[in-house]
């Protein structure tokens, strides 16, 4: 299986080529979480996650709500 490298939450990470954002959520263990997904500074809405394929060197952030004042 050919791999590509992306930056996930600031860390270089290898994922299978052709992975969608939805696939990445599963790989990252975030598929059952309410997460926001940002790819190269663009917010990827839930309806678009299966159709959005990740590319080499994409910058991906997965974000959740933590405690804060």
């Amino acid at each position: 299986m050919k791999m590509i490298t992306i930056t996930l939450n600031g860390e270089r990470t290898g994922i299978p080529e052709g992975s969608s954002v939805l696939d990445l959520l599963s790989i990252a263990g975030a598929d059952r979480k309410q997460v926001a997904v940002v790819v190269n500074e663009t917010i990827i809405r839930p309806a678009d996650r299966s159709a959005t394929t990740l590319k080499e060197n994409d910058q991906v952030d997965l974000l959740v709500f933590a405690g804060g004042g």
């Binding site: 939450n9 926001a36 997965l62 959740v64 709500f65 004042g69």
Partner: protein
Amino acid sequence: MDSLQLGSYTFSSRLILGTGKFSSTRAMLDAVRASGTELVTVALRRFNRDQAEDDLFGPLSEIGGITLMPNTSGAATAKEAIRAAHISRELSGSPFVKVEIHPNPHHLMPDPIETWEACRVLAGEGFLVMPYIPADPVLAKRLEDVGCTSVMPLGSAIGSGQGLSTAEMVRIIIRESNIPVIVDAGLRSPSEACAAMEMGCSAVLVNSAVAVANDPTAMASAFAEAVQAGRRALHAGIMPRSGSAVATSPLTSFLGSAS
């Protein structure tokens, strides 16, 4: 009913609770319930599968009647705060945003220039913008002018527990403001929350004082009662100060007196 109106949202509670610094998610949820709050702040953070407790969306959703107000904590510029607000709205579905821009981690004082710029943009985009600001009446008015839903002047530095050290400035902001004024940050005890409400604040935002108490649930309840007491006292009409004593008992016709 004496309700708090923020945009199209109506709240019966005037206590806004932060969700940071609690020892556990369970402790935070218990405090939220005990406080009777309907509006809580949360912070945007990167997902970490090893820290599942960080994800508060699910647990807070299970408490009925809670609206989320994501903050932009971590942002040092207007651009970063605007980006955080967009992501948070996507995640929460809530139109509220607490604009919080503090570039210096040593004192956490809000940057008034970046805050104004972020608020101008976000209010224009339809957010219900609630900026955390220095207790500056001129800035407060400028933020009202660009469409903020409320202004939230600090009582004292975030997490310091130094109380309502800005009281006189907050009093001016309240007098001049046509939007709700909410004291945010620095409150240490329920009596200070009560004092803020007696001054005419529309609400108070408390986090550390509840989260680090030995019994956060009991402290949340105490703050709720104090906020209600302060609001009732304001409406009841607080007596004016006098420069001299004014007797409450008759001073004449006492035992053995001549007249």
